[in-house]
Symmetry: C2
Amino acid sequence: MFSVSARTQYAIRAMSCLAKREGRSATSAEIAQSESIPAKYLEGILSRLKASGLIESERGKNGGYRMAKDPAEIRMLEIVEAIDGRIKPVTCVDAPGACSQGGDCHPRNFWIGLKTTIDAYLAERTLKDVSEG
Amino acid sequence: MFSVSARTQYAIRAMSCLAKREGRSATSAEIAQSESIPAKYLEGILSRLKASGLIESERGKNGGYRMAKDPAEIRMLEIVEAIDGRIKPVTCVDAPGACSQGGDCHPRNFWIGLKTTIDAYLAERTLKDVSEG
DNA sequence: TATATTCCTATTAATCAGATAGGAATATGG
DNA sequence: CCATATTCCTATCTGATTAATAGGAATATA
C-alpha cells in the first residue's frame, strides 16, 4: 500500500550520487554502476529529471549530467513529481463533481486531505536532508 | 502516485453503506447494488473486513453482514490495513539492515517518516467522519 | 574521422489489480 | 427433508502498468 515506484527510488539514488559531486558531472553509465541501476533504464529517469529542471546535461564526448541547483534547495516533492507526477490518491482529486455526489463529497475531501499531508511532508524535506541525514 | 486501490475505495463505500443501517444487516448483493460494486468482487472485500473484525456476518437464508462496532470507533487506517495491509512506501520499512547501508540509512528513515505521517492522518479520522462529514 | 556520450522510440517481460466463475458449506422456512 | 438464499472458498482470466531491454539517431570532442 502506497508503495514508491522503483523509478522514484532510482531517481533519488541518482540525485544523491550527483549531489555528492558538488557540481562536477557524471555520465549515465557511471551513475548506473555506482548506484546499481540498470543503465538503459536510468537514461529515461535522468531524462525526466532534466525535463523538470533538477539536473542539466551535455552531450557528446566528455558529456554527462550535473546538478542544476544546490541539494539543499531541492525538495523531495520535486523529485517525486518529476518521476511519477502529482500525488493523486484518487483520480477525482483533480476532478471536482466527477462522482455523483457533486461538489461536497466527504470521501473526496478525505483523500484531498491525505494528499495535502503527503505533499507537505515531501516538500519539507530536501535532497540534502535525505542524502546526508 | 500513491493511488488508493479500487478495493479500498469499494471497502469504504461498503462500510459506509453498512454504517447507515445502524446495526441492521445487509446482504452482499444489496450492498453491491446500492454502491455499484461488482458483486462477486465485493464478496472478497467483505471477507477481509470480517477477518479484521470490522464487520460480522451470518450465513444462509436471512444471512448478511452488519457493523461490528460504532462507526465513530472505526479508524480509517483499520479499513485500509484490512484491505491492503500495512502501509509500506518501500519494502525495507520492516527490514532494517536489508540494504547495504545497514541500520542508519537516511532514505529509509525518510520513508519511515512518511509512513508514520500517513498512518497518523488515517488513524485520526473515523468512518463516521468520512461517511457523514 | 573515431569515439563517447545524450537522446529518442519501440518492444518485450514481468507483475499485479480487477474482475469473473463455479461451486461447497450452511442456515432458514415450508 | 427439501428448496432456497446466503456466505465462503479457490481457481482462473484479463488488461493495465511497471520494469527492463534494444537499437540506433543526434551531437560533441579531440
